[in-house]
């Protein structure tokens, strides 16, 4: 199965720029389906980015982050070929993880 995570991480001379896109419905719990029933909340709560054993960013998200969420940030250091481990966990306990290489 294809990963739910896509990462572009580019190592520059002093820092690494990271962009990630995650495939997730991010149902807020406030939207009704076509039968008029509320779609229960189903959203990512936490995403972590780990580089060289260090968590460079932790994202805590509520239900108002957009569907198929996107995030962009940068951290100091990082070299081409380094690994960046991205992991998400949602409110139903589902999780996915991806190890990306810096380019």
């Amino acid at each position: 199965m294809a990963s739910t995570i896509r990462v572009r991480a580019q190592a520059g001379s002093t820092s690494t720029e990271v962009q990630a896109l995650i495939q997730h419905p991010m149902d807020s719990g406030f939207v009704k389906d076509s039968d008029g029933k509320l779609i229960p909340p189903h959203h990512i709560e936490t995403v972590t980015f780990v580089h060289g054993g260090k968590t460079v960013l932790t994202a805590n998200w509520g239900p108002a982050v957009s569907k198929d969420p996107y995030i962009k940030f940068s951290f100091a250091g990082g070299a081409k070929g380094d690994e960046l481990v991205v992991t998400w966990i949602d409110n139903l306990g589902k999780t996915d993880t991806l190890t990306a290489k810096l380019t």
């Binding site: 294809a2 962009q19 896109l21 495939q23 198929d68 996107y70 962009k72």
Partner: protein, 279 residues
């Protein structure tokens, strides 16, 4: 030549009723159509008309550029590429059904098939390819059909629409039918495609900026934030019909195909930008 002219005149008479003037040539129609939009949006470079509302509204363009840094159609694009490269049960694949093995050909669709005498869209050709190879057809409008057309469009980016109207009265009739569909008011709201996407293009309708009809199909399939998913040209056409309070036609109905033929021919020269994102 003379016979053709005669045929066309007869055809025009059938289409429009005896009293109506003979229609301009498709080429003259296209020239006037493109001039209308160039005149309406003098700041917009011609090649940019494939970017819909973003070509004519700067603040929206900025948000779009941010979204395009990592567009949400990326997942569909991946899925489409994998499916495109996966062999059918009989060992053949999509590539065997198309010229240039299906790569970089989006801009030539839809085309008029002089054998069957009808307009063939890319989506229809994909399903005919599947059926010919013993596979079940895909559902139109969203899902895998959107993913595969996304991939095929992506391999055609930058190639200008190159739609031909062959020397065949049926092709000309299909074009005229598409034109009539585009300009006819329908639905309880009494709007035509043209009322929104020509006369009011660039203006706000509810929250949306109305995209100019020129190049409007170049970005398909699209990920629409409003849908939260991918949609094909069929999805857009059926949604438009419903919004005008007219019951939509079935996907790939010949009337929608003729409309796509007309719109794509009118956009000749505008580069393919698909897959795209839209609000």
């Amino acid at each position: 030549m003379k016979i053709r002219r005669l045929l066309l005149t007869a055809l025009a008479a059938c289409l429009l009723g005896g009293a109506a003037p003979a229609p301009a040539s498709p080429e003259a129609d296209r020239t006037a159509f493109q001039a209308f939009f160039k005149d309406r949006f003098p700041q917009t470079p011609f090649a940019d008309f494939g970017n819909g509302p973003y070509a004519v509204n700067a603040p929206m363009r900025k948000q779009w550029e941010e979204i395009m840094q990592f567009p949400p159609y990326d997942f569909a694009l991946d899925e489409g590429k994998t499916a495109f490269e996966t062999k059918f049960a009989n060992g053949k694949s999509y590539a065997d059904c198309f010229p240039s093995r299906g790569i970089g050909i989006r801009q030539t669709f839809p085309y008029f098939d002089t054998k069957t005498g009808e307009v063939v869209t890319l989506d229809l050709a994909i399903n005919r390819c599947r059926v010919a190879n013993g596979e079940a057809p895909l559902k139109y409008q969203t899902g895998m059909m959107a993913s595969i057309t996304a991939y095929m469009s992506e391999t055609s980016r930058g190639k200008p629409f190159a739609i031909e109207i062959p020397d065949d009265p049926r092709a000309r009739a299909a074009f005229e039918e598409g034109k009539k569909f585009f300009y006819s008011r329908r639905g309880q709201l009494n709007f035509s495609c043209a009322s929104c996407h020509a006369s009011s293009s660039g203006q706000r309708m509810r929250g949306d900026i109305l995209a100019p009809a020129l190049g409007i199909l170049a970005a398909f399939p699209i990920y629409r934030s409003d849908w939260g998913s991918m949609g094909t040209i069929d999805r857009r056409f059926t949604t438009c019909s419903s919004q005008m309070r007219a019951e939509p036609l079935p996907p790939q109905d010949i009337r929608y195909r003729n409309l796509e033929y007309f719109l794509s021919y009118m956009s000749n020269g505008v580069p393919i930008t698909g897959p795209g994102t839209r609000p």
